[in-house]
């Protein structure tokens, strides 16, 4: 895992909002300026900028220094880390239940043997 726990909570809370998720989906198709992100939504440019700040703080996006428009870029690797974390945890629980199943089978055969 490449990001630490505290940062992970920043990432998850950034992802909790549907507007921010749709911004990330749009950026997955390619870089976009604040104007380009505001156009398809019902929100004001100011509101979109606020959401971008949250995404930027979670480092899910970055802003390039290219000219006045400063297009937003998706940090895909960062998003992958969050998904990885969920996947890793799923794997831990899957393994744990595999072993629990073996343990239960051992308990059963022990109690059958003692009868």
């Amino acid at each position: 895992m490449t990001i630490v726990a505290d940062e992970l909570s920043l990432v998850f809370s950034a992802l909790a909002d549907p507007t921010r998720r749709s911004i990330l989906e749009r950026l997955a198709e390619g870089d976009a300026t604040v104007n380009e992100l505001t156009e398809p939504s019902d929100l004001t440019q100011q509101a979109i900028s606020k959401h971008l700040k949250v995404l930027e703080r979670a480092r899910l996006i970055s802003r390039t220094q290219a000219g006045q428009s400063r297009p937003c870029v998706l940090e895909a690797e960062r998003l992958d880390s969050a998904v990885d974390w969920i996947e890793q945890n799923r794997q831990i629980w899957a393994d744990r239940h595999d072993r629990l199943e073996e343990h239960l089978a051992a308990l059963r055969s022990r109690s059958e043997g003692s009868r």
């Binding site: 992970l8 998850f12 909790a16 969920i86 799923r90 744990r96 239940h97 072993r99 629990l100 239960l104």
Partner: protein, 148 residues
């Protein structure tokens, strides 16, 4: 902030909810299955103080290099055999794990594990346990009044 990072994991076992609840909360059971493959979970390092606000701690030791992975959690809800909730404060800004044991009525039980980040205001299990303790004291107080 509403829901953040979330994970739901379901598994059906051929055992009663009571036995499964005990497996999840008794060191002599936990040591057999808690750690992933390639690790051991020494029984001496398992702490289970089974009450809201009580500690739940395990140390998983890697067979390969002896590296230790410590989990430190605090129980929030303990309701045998239906439900078990604990919070790990140090993980992902506060990770809440809820385990629900659903009796399927045919000797099998579905174990549903739900993990979610905790909204900041509920982050400390102590805060919740403290509240529960206050309520308990209040109940005692009321009962005392009734006796008098």
């Amino acid at each position: 902030m509403t829901e953040t990072g979330e994970l739901t994991f379901r598994r059906v076992h051929r055992a009663s909810p009571e036995l499964l609840f005990d497996c999840m909360t008794q060191p002599e059971h936990l040591r057999h299955f808690w750690g992933p493959k390639g690790t051991t979970t020494p029984i001496g390092n398992i702490v289970v103080d089974l009450r809201p606000g009580g500690a739940f701690e395990t140390t998983m030791v890697s067979d390969a290099d002896g590296a230790e992975y410590v989990m430190r959690a605090t129980y929030v809800e303990v309701k045998r055999p239906e439900r078990l909730v604990w919070v790990e404060r140090d993980v992902a800004g506060g990770l809440r794990t809820t385990i629900t044991f659903v009796d399927l009525g045919d000797g099998r039980t579905e174990v549903i594990t739900h993990q979610t980040n905790v909204p900041a205001e509920y982050r400390t299990a102590e805060a919740q346990a403290g509240f529960a303790t206050s309520l308990d004291r209040f109940d005692d107080y009321i009962a005392g009044l009734a006796d008098g």
